[in-house]
């Protein structure tokens, strides 16, 4: 309980997280507007206007996760303080994930609502909220292994926005159903992939955290 309170406080007092959340939500709002404007002009930008903006702004949630995890390792060496105060690493890692999930959930819900509600996609909102929250945890897990923000962002955004679309664009590609971000456009199809990717990444991060010298 003490650990949870400490981790929540840490997340809530980090200015970069607030800024990222705000920018992400604003970008979603702008994109939703762009989709709606295109639709009203009779030339829709795609068929999934309720979710399409999230396909882009999920980047903000990846960054949110990366910043939350990498902040421990940035200058100042906060990770020492963390481990001196809470030396049991596996429970600590679990609480960290839960705390980040709890902080992300309202941001994810607001972002999902912004994108889905205007496009009459209210039914997608819970799934989109869950997806964005899991994506944040995936970002945090990867940054926990890499321990530096910029390389983690390059890796994740490169995967999501360059390698992913490439793999998916190949005719007859089977990769589509197995990539972590499939659910961004097709929740019913990609839910399992997102959950499995996130859990695997979290497990990997917990194991490295447990074994590595801090």
């Amino acid at each position: 309980m003490n650990t949870a309170r400490a981790e929540l406080r840490k997340l809530l007092t980090l200015p970069s997280l607030r800024l990222t959340a705000l920018l992400t939500w604003t970008a979603t709002l702008l994109l939703t507007y762009a989709y709606a404007a295109a639709e009203s002009r009779g030339e829709p930008l795609g068929d999934a206007a309720a979710l399409a903006p999230l396909g882009y702004t999920q980047a903000g949630f990846l960054v949110l996760g990366v910043l939350a995890a990498a902040s421990e390792y940035q200058d100042g060496g906060q990770i020492h303080t963390t481990l001196l105060a809470m030396p049991r690493r596996l429970p600590l890692q679990a609480v960290k994930a839960l705390a980040l999930g709890a902080v992300t959930l309202p941001v994810a819900a607001a972002t999902a609502a912004t994108s889905t509600l205007p496009a009459n996609g209210a039914t997608w909102m819970p799934a989109a909220t869950a997806y964005l929250t899991l994506t944040t945890l995936l970002g945090a897990a990867v940054a926990g292994v890499v321990r530096r923000a910029v390389p983690a962002v390059i890796l994740l955004l490169g995967m999501y926005f360059i390698a992913g679309p490439l793999l998916r664009a190949r005719p007859g590609s089977i990769a589509a159903a197995y990539l972590p971000d499939t659910a961004a456009l097709n929740p019913s199809r990609g839910a399992a992939a997102t959950i499995i990717w996130t859990l695997s990444a979290l497990t990997l991060a917990a194991l490295t955290f447990h074994r590595r010298d801090a």
Binding site: A6, R9, T13, G76, T81, L83, L84, M86, P87, A214
Partner: protein
């Protein structure tokens, strides 16, 4: 009470600690002396559960650091840096650390006052000078009013007033019955405050005992140190 028993560690195939064994007792200031890269920090990191040894045990009050309940109430540690994220204010930093060990928020302001940072409580850690960062690190160590203090090069970066303050503070802590273990490569500084001295060189303990015994026939601790480590320098690995 700190007990280190035959701790060895290899890092990228180099033996950095070899059978390190020593004790630091309550009511005494124990100085851990050695040149840069001798293994002082590695030993302290193992003691604090940050690094893992290949073999041996490092115990605080009879338990490994990871098994301590609310560890900050038993051990206060100062490693290099402030241990605070640059974007957080000093007070926000101390408050999350306090929360992690179930300590009241009011402790944050109390320890800030002890280290003389009351006026900088709302300043972000990234704007602190070297000396202020060290004071913030010490404030963090004191949050739980611990009975054991472990400090890595505590006077690094402090101004003369700060050094004098630190010296008095550590002597007082020992006088109140606390166990104080501090590492340093500054022999003159250590000779001023330590009751017991442990000398480490190239990962091995060279000598340990009361300050007077370690200094022995030599003029100063510094002379003793060079005599001891020079003798060791030729030994093949």
């Amino acid at each position: 009470m700190i007990t280190i028993d035959r701790v060895s560690k290899t890092k990228s195939r180099t033996l950095i600690l070899h059978d390190v064994t020593f004790e630091a007792r309550p009511g005494r200031v124990t100085g851990f002396l050695g040149p840069n890269g001798a293994g002082k920090t590695s030993t302290l990191r193992i003691l604090l559960g940050l690094d893992r040894p290949q073999s041996g045990t490092a115990l605080i009050c009879g338990r490994p650091y990871g098994k301590l309940d609310r560890p900050l109430t038993t051990v206060g540690a100062l490693l290099d840096g402030s241990g605070a994220h640059r974007a957080r204010t000093a007070r926000a930093h101390l408050r999350w650390v306090a929360a992690s060990n179930g300590l009241p928020d009011s402790r944050a302001d109390e320890v800030l006052e002890v280290v003389g940072l009351t006026g900088d409580a709302r300043k972000r850690a990234g704007r602190f000078s070297l000396g202020m960062s060290r004071r913030l690190g010490l404030a963090t160590a004191l949050l739980g009013d611990p009975e054991v203090l472990v400090l890595d090069e505590p006077v690094n970066g402090l101004d003369p007033v700060g050094i004098r303050w630190m010296r008095t503070f550590l002597r007082d802590s020992a006088a109140q019955g606390r166990t104080v273990l501090l590492s340093s490569h500054l022999m003159g500084e250590l000779a001023e405050i330590a009751d017991d001295v442990i000398v480490i060189d190239k990962g091995r303990i060279v000598i340990q005992g009361r300050l007077a015994d370690v200094t022995g026939d030599h003029h100063t601790l510094e002379d003793a140190f060079f005599a001891l480590t020079a003798a060791e320098a030729d030994r093949p690995w």
